[in-house]
Amino acid sequence: MSDVGTPPIPMLDVKELRVSYGARVAVDGVSFRIERGEIFGLLGPNGAGKTSTLSAIEGLVKPQSGRSLIDGIDTAQHPLEAKALLGVQLQSSSFQPELSIQQIASLFAGLYGVRLTTAQLADRLRDIGLEAEAGRRFKQLSGGQQQRLALFIASIHDPLLLLLDEPTAGLDPQSRRALWQRIEQARGAGRSILLTTHSMEEAQAVCDRVAIVDHGTLLTTGTPADLIAKHRDDPKVRAVAHGEVTLEDVFIGLTGSEIRD
């Protein structure tokens, strides 16, 4: 049977997601979709609800209401099946401190059902420039190496969807660019990517579409260029712009100038 006329199932479909911690509502009715081969960025100030949204999709927190479907699979009803499709890089990646890089990679390959020989594992570590570090511990790596390893672990099973929580936080410009390249390579290989970031430069450089969230709600969605065009005449945006309106002006205009901790 041909599927002509049937819209393709989105890679990620988040519907009316609501997450709260006690009385505090962290995510309040957020909905968005990510298509196949798309890089989608969640932008928001600290405490806006970005990580909570990701945590709900990853199954780390139970949403109060709403659903998230990965390739049509409900993450609440079939959590393990959904997780098998996901590659995750948490905001502060942490691996067993006693294990070497090679042992960590071997552990996660096993957990995702990937059989890798020692030679294959060495090849893959060479691909990410960590072959010489195979015997070292995670904490002994530099920040850039740690992020590279975290991304490698997240994609060790060739997942359909990658969730990256501030993947370039704390990296120097060289490492950040190198990581962008790897993220784009992942998209080139047909994966969809949802990433959170504070960096407007990053959002513009790698994201096909972005959503700005604040106080748990989704304020606006679109391509970076669309968002600038859509909000360039907004008085709140104009008030913070210095000359030509940028994505950062749109972001600050919509989320406010006060510093969040």
């Binding site: 691996f95 096993g110 990937v114 059989r115």
Partner: protein, 252 residues
Amino acid sequence: MTERPAFGLAMGALLKADTLSLLRNRTSGIITVLLPIILVVATSFGEKKIRLLGGPDLIIGLALTVGLLVSSLLGYAISLAQDRHAGVLQRLRVTPTPTWMIMASRLIVQLVVNLAMTVIVVVLGVVVHGLSLNPAQYALVLAISIFGAAVFLAIGQALVGLVNSLSAVNAIGRILFALLLLLGLVGATGILGDAVKAIADWSPVGALMTLFSDALNWSPWSDQDTFALLVGIGYIVIFSFVGIRLFRWDSK
């Protein structure tokens, strides 16, 4: 990849990683094995001393209980709290691995380490204290060791279930270790009165020492053994329930 990974592959990877983590954690490993060995060897000088302490069966029983307490209560609870604090558990939870498998792997590795410690201590005890055990006694001591490990693992699980902070788990674990040991040892002598002796007999250490001592003595099964067994089962059921129900994977 769109399917859940095979059970064997995931469990094998977890068991290997948990074993390596435990073996690489030298402090915990050394104390688990070294402390009971020191107890067995230090008490081997002079028959008078051994008699004063209750005989070789009690000494070996005590050494095994101390080893189990260190490994299963302190070692397990603190390493679990550390991994929770560092976010290691959350990283494992985002994989398609059932949470029970993450915990089961840790428990299995702990049990194996306890069995190894038991074999070393019993063999050393037999050599140093000149005890003569038949094969059934060896098997019984191993079975009691598994049972004892389960009791202390359950208490350790309850501790990390009730207490979320790493430093608090560390502190309370050490206090609990000292309290349980003192209660089981000093309380059981009766010098603190009958009430404390009764409590000591009901305590995890008291119950376990009764079982170890009777197995090493090859005494006929007594009401006290039945009582110790039932008390131990009670501890396993209650503390496991509390530890599993209240356990949080994230320390934040």
